[in-house]
Symmetry: C2
Subunit: 324 residues, 2 copies
Amino acid sequence: MSKNNIDTLLYRALNGDIRAISKLLTIIEFPADHDIETISSIMRNLMNRGGKAHIIGVTGSPGVGKSTLISKLISLFRDRNERVAVLSIDPSSPFTLGSFMGNRIRMQSHSLDPNVFIRSTATRGVTGGLSPSSVLLIEAFDGLGFDKIIIESVGVGQTDVDIINVSHTVINVLMPGAGDEIQAMKAGIMEIGDIYVVNKSDKPEADLVYRQLTEIIRSSKYKSKYGWVPKVVKVSSIMGHGISELGDIIDEHRKFLIDRGSFSDIIIHRRVYSVELILKYIIEEKIRKDLKKDGSDILDKVVSGNIDPYTASLTIYNKLAKTC
Amino acid sequence: MSKNNIDTLLYRALNGDIRAISKLLTIIEFPADHDIETISSIMRNLMNRGGKAHIIGVTGSPGVGKSTLISKLISLFRDRNERVAVLSIDPSSPFTLGSFMGNRIRMQSHSLDPNVFIRSTATRGVTGGLSPSSVLLIEAFDGLGFDKIIIESVGVGQTDVDIINVSHTVINVLMPGAGDEIQAMKAGIMEIGDIYVVNKSDKPEADLVYRQLTEIIRSSKYKSKYGWVPKVVKVSSIMGHGISELGDIIDEHRKFLIDRGSFSDIIIHRRVYSVELILKYIIEEKIRKDLKKDGSDILDKVVSGNIDPYTASLTIYNKLAKTC
């Protein structure tokens, strides 16, 4: 892409032109389809302006009502005239991709609002973590002046870990009957969120989950990143109950981070983490290709039991290191 | 280690000497502490004899009763005079490591049986997948002549994916009230197991979970790897109900795989997968070190927004490729 075209596109996108934003994001989503100068130039322009957006990760099991909750949060932020971007992480399940259309439909009430931008993107398989595109899209939304960037994830595996690493505020959505999650928290296997939302608070079991969570946090002296004591809030997304209280807690957490200088620390962490994530991706792709091309002899020996996987890996690594 | 010492150790271990087995496994668990010739020689010896063990992965959320179930399965296999190894995957949670002692105690009834070997090993963090040691330990158990190798995992993230890739038979343990898991199955986010165990079948909700699972499998025409239609079985590990039925299904699945030639295909897949897993590990370690040593200039630029993570990653990769 010529420098002129890039400048025009950026100028239009930065002035809020939805079609220009969309085009820019599509370029960023498939960086390998473009020359590196185009990507570098676009991203440098955006990242220089970034570092202001509040990144909010929303995780939770399927069916807990994340999309409806996010839709209500969008309305709340829009009432304050904030611009909102949503990055929805598609699990790319090999079995079904159906649940995704549901999200889109539920969020359609915002689809005519030019200050709300919703984008879905793929992960690296169900549990494989954020794709390089996702972290670039987050930087792009930030540079384009969105005040809130909400990342919606199914909350499984490496993807969850990645979202914790790129977000300022992690909201963990549970619903009544979340016994497994509470077990997992007790066992220390569930990652700590900054805010726990007990959704579907109209259901009878909601109070129990609320009390259990509050008690675990109190008794274990749990703190999430940067010394914040997690808050629990009951919400009924469908009825609209508890949303403004949740909004207050989100603001409180943001203020907490800013007061301690942690807000910008998290941005530094996010950007360094993004490099590690993309570098890992590039190298894993290279390994996959090289193994196919040059590794078949040695793999045959591993299969027949004449070389063990450890020795084979060291041998392949040393060979790669010499020839790359 | 001298060739003589290795040969003696192997001879003793292959003859069932518990202390020799234990020593051998400790060497294999920390391969980097030994010269590569020692590891290669031990592993080649073992892998040449391997390829016979039935690898059974047992996954499920914390609290569903995996350890008690495994303890009952061990008794069942021992009654047929089979030798059993258990590899228990410790989540190495940053918050608590406590749950593990419970497992050991629950399995103690087998601790005096020389034909049952239980080993716990660390993963790469909560969700980070199997360690290189784990896959080497599996090959070692196989080579040492254990008939059944049971891998117990908390079933989260990459660790779960890895276990599916190295096992012949995956048993997914659920308990009454497993609504989230069933939601996850419906959404296609939960990986398919070969056998679903509804544990704690004495609880009233067990029948509901059993029927829901059966119905999902029936209506979706779910098949797991190699065309097997997953089976659901109700078990009360504590009461001992359903264990022999589960044993029959495990045998049926093994026979299904052998009849189709898939049993050995899975061993081939496991060994190739092990190489990928270890190679990835070696390279990620190298990246981490190199980023610390040489990456700080470029990372500073990413943090300040003057280089984007994608361009930075390509630059670092090209630099690594030139100097390695």
